[in-house]
Amino acid sequence: MKITDFIKKNVVILDGGMGTLLQAKGLMPGELPETWNIIHPDIVSDIHKQYLDAGSNVISTNTFGANRLKFSSEELEAIIAAAVENARRAVESCEDNRPRWVALDIGPTGKMLKPLGDLDFEDAVSVFAEIVRLGVRSGVDLIFIETMSDSYETKAALLAAKENSSLPVFVSNAYGEDGKLMTGATPAAMVALLEGMGADAIGVNCSLGPKALMPVVEEYLKYSSTPLILKPNAGLPSVLNGETVYSLSAEQFAKEVSLAVSLGVNIIGGCCGTTPEYIAALKEKTKDVIPKPIEKKKIKLVSSYTRAVAFGQRPVLIGERINPTGKPRFREALLRWDIDYLLREAIGEEDAGADILDVNVGVPGICEAELLPQVISRIQEVTDLPLQIDTADPVAMERALRLYNGKPMINSVNGKAESMAAIFPLVKKYGGAVVCLTLDEKGIPKTAEERLAIAQKILVEADKYGIGPENLIFDTLAMAVSADKNAAKETLSGIKLISDTMSCDTILGISNVSFGLPNRDMLNASFFTLALANGLTAAIINPHSTPIMEAYRSYLALSGLDYNFEGFISLATKQEKAEDIAVIDLKRAIIKGLRDRARAITTELIKSKSSLDIINENIIPALDEVGVGYEKRKIFLPGLLMSAEAAGAAFEVIKSVAGADDKATKCTVVLATVKGDIHDIGKNIIKLILENYGFAVVDLGKDVSPEDILSEVLRLDAKIVGLSALMTTTLPAMEETVRLIRESAPSCRIMVGGAVLNEEYAAQIGADFYGRDAMEAVRFAEEVNQT
């Protein structure tokens, strides 16, 4: 019998703790328990047997920490083979033929993934893939990924399991007292991610006792349509007469866990502090229980690495601003790979009240397959809003989906056979809620009924891939009403038809309706209200638009969706921050580091003064004064940076008015943090200050290989390259980069900086200049610029 069938009708009993029992048999502190599979196979096999005798249906191999970060590949191969053999031997020695399975146990790597840590996502996938392949070869029945405390690492493990086996996969996470994973994910966020990727059972283990884990279990019960696992500790540990004891007896433990079973959990076992006695008590307590059937929840969830957004409660707002269409400044930023510009847009939309951010970087001349995954990763560093990945390029889509930390929105699929064949396999593999455009090979149908028919066709086709309506969201396509006076009417009745007849979620890109008309927000807001009234569940909008946000808040207030009118009142009484621009001039604002003030003053000033005059008469003198103050130790680093940011805000206003061709006047400087180094505050400081002084800075980011730095230096014919390193371990990478540039771009001047460097070492590795701080770097760059 397959475990996935057994789960449907039975309570599944897992095993209990392994480590504690091995310690009782003499495992020393610091000794790796996995080695006992080889040196003490009988002890390990006997523990498995004790659990089977106590009533376990599933036993997990003693391979929690068996991975290539701790063992050589020969050791790993031998350990996993022996571990599976030990478990299998225990199963075979059972006399009756109750159903029993051997699970390949996979624990965390013990490393943090990038960007927080130093383990690359794909490297993590490959570490897990190796374990899975070895387990499959040794003949395990299922894969049990457990005690994971980070969503990204959990995704890497599940992806590896799915890509390297067709076995059932159980996934269990370890939650803290705050009800979240160590890196912040809520239960709903994990349900979204794991169900989206097709885990066969999901749940909770370790960290706390059953009672303390109940709030987390209840969240799983609320959102999950997948069988649930509960494998808690035997309460809290303490030391009594030199021995570790746990607060719950086997009987109490079984009682508390069986409570969860009565609520709908049907895969149970124990973690730290539990023994065969606890498992026997669990078995006894649940022997006559017929598990509750698993309810299909029909809740559409998308998620980031910390939180989930649920559809169907209040309409969901998707920010549209990260999109180059019609935005020259944005296009220019993309062409220069200036991702920081996009990050500022992302934060701006979050602050304005978006729930999800659409991300589109499609510009002619840009390789989306390379840029999009990078942009997605960078945006996830600065905001934990879920993202909507928006591209027409299936390769870019797959790369972005793979790297995304969570379960994203996917924009989009349509009724064309080709589109569905390209997108649905990706939705199935990586998880996601996909926007379905109601158009097909014949184009966009005129009537609402025809769009409904396409929606139904998409629904049927998705079902063939095992993608249900809870992961589809239909777009009846907002069209320019200026081109066809009935366009909006058809779109709106399409929304109503789909909501009413299919009970499915709907979405619209609101702004399209006003294309070609003046004062577009005026029309957009009314269209938005009408769409909401017709049942719209999500909208792609500009969250900075006051009319749109007013329409939204008013709709919520009128539909009983705004508790105590809090949202409405807060927006209705919001005072625009009055910028006191009269009492202070731009130069003072910059010197004092007042970013908002500098922006507001420049916006006013540019109406009456040329940009060149503003730069020469206001901004440059301010920067000079601050720079001198810094060098004389009158102004300190935070003050210098605040001024630089204020100047940056003023420059941004000037650029937006003067247009994208207002190029920097000084030479190109390429900046990068060298390979292996992920610390980039220093480099960003230099970037900010150099930009202030008019240099064309191209920032290659952190952890950049010598080859990549060289190729950009050559491509841009850069006069200066600035390299940064914080750790002694990455100095060889810096040296190698300097050597490469010297060899192939001898005219490029090299400046270096970072905590571990000094003048002497800089000279030794062949750099032209060592910059102790940002102002020194500016002085050097000015010098080079003039030669």
């Binding site: 310690q23 965390p108 130790r633 003050g639 750790m727």
Partner: protein, 201 residues
Amino acid sequence: MNDNLVYIKSFASPDVDRREVLRYAGVRESTEEVDLMLDECIKEAEKVLSYKACYRIYDIGVYDGELDLGFARVVSRSLLKSLDGCKRIIVFCATVGVGIDRLIAKYTALSPAKAVMLQALGSERVEALCDSFCTEIASELEENGGTCTRRFSPGYGDLPLDIQREVFSSLECTKRIGVSLGDNLFMTPTKSVTAIIGIKM
């Protein structure tokens, strides 16, 4: 006798020492604007900071000049001196969590000024956490008539940083409080500290 047990403690937020934060940020003389920016940083960071530590107790001994810490053996004159008169130690790891790293990453791109200040704040926070931890341990010991030494971290004096590996496998920091060790021996979350304190009874 060595406990097999790793203990975990959570702490309330210790008061922020603003002067100390400014010192870490390299500010010798603050201005109204810098003070305001620090206020904003504190307000934002408070929402994501958590204060946790895990620790374990070991009997120690000296054999042929080598210090047996119960979880590792080292040669370190400075640690030996610090542990003079102690028969047991507490080895601990403390962290203010991953949230502040996320804030720093966010502001590294958006506002390096805030990133610098948040770095400083994070350093001050984790040191304040260590102070809270050590104070609590000291008062627990005092009840039993004991005292403890000042905390001593890997990398201080001649205690090699490499010992971090043994500290991490002994405390299982990743599982207990979410701290992991990179290949370069840097910790994630970055605002984390490991240290040893000696116990005198």
